[in-house]
Symmetry: C4
């Protein structure tokens, strides 16, 4: 896969993960979709002000899964971005298309 596809692919998955996170907190904790979205975004971006409301054990387990999955996707997206930027530079230096 070329870098642009890597990047598009990782961003698409990220959007899906945000959707799953929002759905998850709504179902597991009974939060409003907006609270669940806010929790998902501050968790995946690792800002983590604090849990929007206290979490049940199921909510904590879901959060652990979201963090592990999300961190993997974000590392992959950042890697894709670096790959994309380094590649352009490389082609330029090496003078090859």
């Amino acid at each position: 896969m070329d870098p642009v596809r890597h990047l598009r692919f990782s961003l698409s998955i990220l959007v899906i993960v945000v959707g799953c996170g929002t759905l998850g907190y709504t179902l597991i904790e009974g939060w409003t979709p907006f609270e669940a979205l806010y929790m998902t975004v501050i968790t995946l971006a690792t800002v983590g002000f604090r849990e929007v409301h206290d979490l049940s054990d199921q909510g904590k387990a879901f959060t652990i899964a979201l963090i592990i999955f999300g961190a993997g996707i974000i590392a992959y997206a950042v890697g894709s971005l670096v790959q994309f930027m380094v590649e352009g530079q490389l082609r330029l230096i090496l003078g090859r298309k």
Copy 2:
């Protein structure tokens, strides 16, 4: 664009985003500019001690936008830095200017 310009460009946008964040929290939440700046910095740097004061729904929506936009800019800035550092190395190894 060469890496130095990428880096300068991303840092300029970052400064603008910090300004917008500070303005945003001042207008939406009525915080002092200093509180708003503090909130913006701990949010964009993903330190996220906790919300400086409780956020209204509009403030939460603004925070989500700030995080998404800010994360994009910061990923781009880090990518530029890596690109810049890898490029120097590459030129050295390949013995080309």
Copy 3:
């Protein structure tokens, strides 16, 4: 070491660090293994909602060690991922196996 081994190696150590973190908080603070795992994950991923319960001085010292060690491992894992992704791209551009 080639990138795939770097990546595997860093992920293995990460799993061990999560195990040590969980064990540490259980022994030092007397938390349940699940609370200790939750604390370890939110700490290593730098989400850091808040300390699950107030920490003793020993718990704080353990947390500092966990962060320093964990940050090193994660930087290494991200570096491995970037190396892995850049390498594939390089081989493709240079047309060498």
Copy 4:
């Protein structure tokens, strides 16, 4: 500068920044050196559980400076690590010392 020096240099500065952070919180907020160290580490690593105690305005200004300076150093250190890892790979692929 070669990557190993970049890496050593950035780690040395990081240690100095941790020292300055600890000193700063001790002087500005009157915290114990251990509390100040804990605050510095959770801030620079962007874990940010919460402010160890409430911060004065001077303490908040110091925290903003610490985050901006620290984030720059850490980005530089991560960049050095990636540069170091990519370089070894490059030399291997290109078959040059």
